[in-house]
């Protein structure tokens, strides 16, 4: 027996940790991981509401979100690798080409 409030609180805390990581960290890899954390918090909410409304749609959409997260991480990591080849860094502070 799982309380809906507990799920919402935990997924909210996980989303906050993800946002804080994206804003605070400098390493592009860690930033990507924090984006994944936020997507997982959203998935947790999808499943919790699916469980509390008796509808199967939430679980179906959580599966779709999982697929999109995989696509996003593949492209993001390819970008990081390309960036490392060109600029020899993965610290987002060192990537300021558009600054002028």
């Amino acid at each position: 027996m799982v309380n809906l409030n507990a799920v919402l609180l935990i997924s909210f805390a996980m989303f906050s940790i993800g946002i804080a990581g994206v804003l605070i960290r400098r390493n592009a890899l860690v930033i990507l991981m924090c984006v994944e954390l936020m997507l997982n918090a959203a998935n947790l909410n999808f499943i919790a509401f699916a469980r509390h409304s008796g509808s199967v749609s939430g679980q179906a959409f959580a599966l779709l979100v999982m697929g999109f997260a995989a696509a996003e991480v593949a492209v993001g990591l390819a970008l990081v690798v390309a960036l490392y080849r060109k600029r020899d860094t993965v610290q987002v502070d060192d990537i300021n080409l558009l600054k002028g």
């Binding site: 409030n5 996980m14 940790i17 946002i19 990507l32 954390l37 008796g54 999982m66 593949a74 990591l77």
Partner: protein, 183 residues
């Protein structure tokens, strides 16, 4: 002793959830990227446990396969490729900590505003149901994978196909982005 085990069984979701939060905190706070990836793996496994305790068995297993089997390995490869040489991280954290704290507080306010009714109201779990034409010959509450697949392919076939196209584009795009310049 039996009482203790029963208590743990009832609070399985909270245990997994708190462990996942701990893993997420280590992802953000740890200095080395390899430690971050390992903590990320731990958090993903704990979230799979959360899914299982929310009776989404198929998604729990898919979470383990996709994240522990695919994404974490991908992250580890890139960390090995990138981080071995002079991982010169002058300071771990950026100066935007102020903005981060502000964003989290804003999130708390928005969360409280949206979920005020849900948090303080009573909500009880309900067993999964499918439309009667979809649920023929299926024990929806027990056969989670079959129920999810019937719901997915009946009502959400178009998003599923779009997802397959997106995955194909991501595959080609990742190869093109990551390949070396010389042919």
């Amino acid at each position: 002793m039996e009482h203790f085990i029963e208590t743990i069984g009832r609070n399985m979701f909270a245990i997994f959830g708190v462990m996942a939060l701990g893993g997420a905190a280590v992802v953000v706070a740890s200095r080395s990227a390899v430690h971050s990836v390992l903590a990320f793996l731990f958090a993903m496994l704990c979230i799979a446990g959360c899914f299982l305790s929310l009776e989404a068995e198929f998604l729990g297993m898919a979470q383990i396969l996709v994240y522990a089997g695919g994404i974490v390995v991908l992250f580890l490869f890139v960390v090995m490729l990138v981080e071995v040489s002079k991982a010169k991280e002058k300071e771990v954290f950026q100066l935007q900590s102020r903005y981060a704290i502000g964003a989290v507080l804003l999130g708390v306010a928005a969360f409280a505003a949206v979920f005020r009714k849900v948090i303080f109201g009573a909500a009880s779990p309900q067993a999964l149901v499918l439309r009667t034409d979809l649920a023929q010959g299926l024990d929806v509450a027990k056969q989670n994978a079959q129920a999810v697949s019937r719901g997915l392919f009946a009502d959400y076939l178009l998003p599923f196909e779009i997802l397959s196209v997106v995955l194909l584009v991501a595959l080609v795009g990742a190869v093109v982005l990551a390949k070396t310049e010389r042919v």
